[in-house]
């Protein structure tokens, strides 16, 4: 929706000498309708406290206010750095309500004031009992649906789906979380990145809920969190790209990451090839698929081999796909193309006549069809002597 909105704006500004076509006008109308119906959400994502999210967000708020947008601050963290405080001095702040001794975002007051944009520093807070919503991100949802745009910050460790992964690194239990879908469905996310030593210098410990500041984390822990946050952001961007393309009816274009397809058969143990696929997918931060073709008549021994391969694939946490099709090479290629595969791994079973029986000119057939896709042929011995 937001892109539509933007397109409309671009068209208004850039194409004044073009006559707008009806489709453009329709888009513009839809965009404007959308614009008034729901606020826009922008989230600043950081990997730890002290990375500079609050500063970046308030700096943006300052610039947007200078450009004439009606901005208020709805929630701020209990402790802020002097730089952030200096920015806050120049903003209208809606005082938080104290409930049960806990400062809580005053949603009613913000709704009454009804600014264009509300600044929410720290999405992951639990509201005290008796609040309209148990979670602050739900308050934000309320503001958005009332037509108020929100710019907000969140830290990696508060993303529900990444919590376990993060806790393994930090050994700190976090209870206040925001679902990843909330991040994915934001109109914009912006990564706030800085080297770990920056966080260590600037991270005021105790500033975050649960006291999960950066000062107690080592540079190595911070570095690992940083990588996870970047990969999370890449996934969100990838998701948004796909959503964008789907909405605009644009032919599928794949994101920037590697997608590895390991093709397994009932004729060779593929344990090593699958393990290699997993390692490669990890190194490239990509996805791993394991595919096989439904064979109509295979011997019990062959079935055992295939099932062994699939067990390996499950253990490697691969996406397993059963394919049906007359021509095996075509079937694999069709799947590969429709899933944006960038590398196909397969075993060259020269010792077995299976390839020649089924494929005629097997490997070549596949390689020939593999436009835009790399094919990695594994030696049969390698795979067989797992």
């Amino acid at each position: 929706m937001l892109e539509v909105c933007l397109l409309a704006v671009i068209e208004r500004n850039m194409s004044t000498n073009h006559r707008p076509d009806p489709e453009q006008l329709l888009r513009q109308l839809q965009a404007e309708e959308q614009f008034y119906r729901r606020g826009r959400l922008k989230i600043f994502l950081g990997y730890a406290g002290g990375v500079g999210k609050s500063f970046r967000m308030l700096d943006e708020a300052r610039r947007r206010r200078a450009r004439g947008e009606d901005m208020v601050v709805g929630a701020i963290q209990p402790k802020v750095s002097p730089e952030v405080d200096a920015l806050l001095q120049r903003m209208q702040v809606i005082p938080q309500r104290i409930m049960d001794g806990v400062p809580t975002m005053d949603v009613e007051a913000i709704l009454r004031r009804h600014p264009q944009v509300c600044v929410v520093d720290g999405l992951a807070y639990d509201n005290p009992p008796g609040s309209a919503h148990p979670k602050r991100w739900q308050d934000v949802e309320h503001l958005l649906s009332s037509g108020i745009s929100v710019i907000a910050t969140v830290n990696l460790q508060h993303i529900e789906e990444r919590r376990e992964q993060v806790e393994k690194i930090t050994h700190k239990h976090v209870t206040e979380t925001v679902p990843e879908s909330f991040l994915r469905n934001a109109d914009e996310i912006e990564i706030v990145d800085a080297p770990p030593d920056f966080c260590l210098q600037h991270g005021p410990d105790g500033l975050l809920p649960n006291g999960a500041g950066s000062a107690t984390l080592s540079p190595q822990q911070l570095s690992e969190l940083r990588e996870i946050a970047l990969l999370l952001a890449a996934d969100v961007v990838d998701y948004q790209l796909e959503a964008y393309l789907a909405r605009h009816g644009i032919e599928q274009l794949w994101g920037a990451h590697e997608r590895i397809l390991v093709y397994v058969s009932p004729y060779a143990d593929a344990a090593k090839m699958i393990a290699s696929g997993r390692r490669n997918a990890d190194r490239f931060h990509g996805e791993l698929f394991v595919a096989y073709v439904n064979w109509p008549d295979i011997t019990p021994e062959e079935k055992t081999v295939l099932e062994g391969n699939l067990a390996q694939a499950r253990a490697a946490n691969a996406r397993i796909e059963a394919l049906d099709g007359e021509d095996q090479a075509d079937t694999i290629m069709q799947f590969a193309r429709s899933h944006g595969i960038t590398q196909i791994f397969l075993v060259n079973e020269l010792s077995n006549s299976w390839w020649d029986r089924i494929f005629g000119q097997p490997v070549e057939h596949l390689i020939r069809a593999a436009e835009n896709i790399d094919v990695r042929v594994f030696p049969a011995e390698d795979a067989a002597h797992a």
């Binding site: 090593k272 390692r279 835009n372 390698d382």
Partner: protein, 376 residues
């Protein structure tokens, strides 16, 4: 000031397009360093007439550019000599991927930066992800634009720190509309070409993933080896201890234009797997001097390109390319051979007796990766 014996540190601010705020963020850091008492200068500063950037540079020492005349016009390039004389602790050099005007001492700005680093000066610089050599084909696939100014991956790998400068594409397009990035006509042109939203989203994802990779290779990881489980037997010549996997990749360089993309891909995979990367070129007489000139030029160009990416190609003598390649691979404990996928029109000629098939058959104990040229 005494000559430094330490090499300077390199920090790269990585973005995905003009206007995301790389220079601004770099200058912000420069101010912070200056406030901490660090002796810092702007060795090359390119504000592109952007007001915010110009204001941001106020209070920082800017060294004049070196004037170079070329075809009747005067260009300003980094004055490396002047920086060396001035000897700051830290030097800010904008636009790492820039190609110097002919007549400059060095071809590329990143080469200027090497000189500063060697002299013990720390450098802060900016670049966009699309300038990374190994991403050239992928970027072209996404954008239709063949980026000419590239930086070899090893140069970026040298950096002590890579920081992502992010801005959502919509915000970037808004900046463009407000005339913050370019003049109105140029902005309009840009939006019809490079600055299409889908292109920007894809480039951004590429930049984020690249930064994640740069972070990944810079924090200590557990030992992991690819071949340890893949190939039986002993390794007589293991890679240096710094290498974290015993993978070894061998690229077949030929006169075919597909060699460039093959080299880039092989290099990228090797870097991600932290593998060693070798290349060979097989010639009938074992010498580039006895082949037709057109072929020789192409082969030499590709070998030079490989060297530029820190891959030292060996020239082998052999009538039978596949056999010579595989023999070399076996001798050097190669775990993966990289060859190019023949182009469509050549298939009919080589079908059944093709190089690819022969290599796959001969290399029955080595993995073979057939790299497809990326098409749009």
């Amino acid at each position: 000031m005494p000559e430094s014996t330490h090499r300077g540190t390199l920090k790269i601010f990585l973005g995905y397009a003009a206007g995301v705020g790389k220079t601004y963020q770099m200058l912000d850091e420069a101010h912070k360093l200056k406030d901490e008492g660090v002796d810092i200068v702007l060795g090359y500063f390119e504000p592109h007439g952007r007001r915010d950037t110009i204001i941001k540079a106020e209070g920082l020492e800017i060294l004049p550019r070196r004037k170079i005349e070329y075809r009747g016009a005067v260009f300003g390039e980094t004055d490396v000599e002047a920086i060396l004389r001035r000897r700051p602790q830290v030097c800010v050099i904008d636009e790492f991927a820039h190609t110097n005007v002919p007549g400059s001492q060095r071809n590329k700005r990143w080469e200027d930066v090497q000189v500063l680093l060697d002299a013990g000066i720390d450098v802060l610089t900016t670049m966009n992800v699309q300038h990374l050599e190994s991403l050239n084909d992928q970027v072209w696939q996404f954008t239709g634009i063949r980026v000419r100014e590239t930086i070899p991956d090893w140069v970026v790998k040298q950096a002590d720190e890579v920081v992502m400068v992010d801005l959502p594409p919509q915000a970037l397009l808004n900046r463009l509309l407000r005339g913050v990035v370019y003049t109105p006509e140029k902005a309009r042109q840009a939006m019809e070409n490079f600055f299409k939203e889908s292109t920007l989203v894809a480039l951004r994802e590429l930049a984020i993933r690249q930064t994640a990779h740069e972070v990944d290779v810079r924090h200590p990881l557990e030992e992991e080896t690819e071949t340890a489980e893949l190939v039986e037997g002993d390794h007589e010549s293991l890679p240096s201890p710094r290498q974290r996997s015993s993978d070894r990749i061998l690229i077949l360089v030929t006169e075919d234009p597909s060699s460039a993309a093959l080299i880039r891909r092989g290099r990228r995979v090797a870097d991600y797997l932290q593998a060693e990367c070798l290349a060979v070129c097989v010639l009938r007489d074992g010498s580039v001097h006895r082949i037709p000139e057109s072929q020789r030029e192409a082969v030499e160009k590709h070998m030079k390109f490989a060297r530029n990416l820190h891959i030292e190609p060996s020239v082998l003598r052999g009538e039978d390319v596949a056999q010579t390649l595989v023999d070399f691979a076996r001798l050097h404990k190669v775990t993966q051979i990289f060859i190019a996928r023949p182009q469509q029109k050549k298939w009919s000629m080589v079908f059944g007796r093709g190089l690819v098939e022969r290599v796959v058959r001969l290399a029955h104990d080595i993995q073979v990766t057939i790299v497809a040229e990326r098409r749009r």
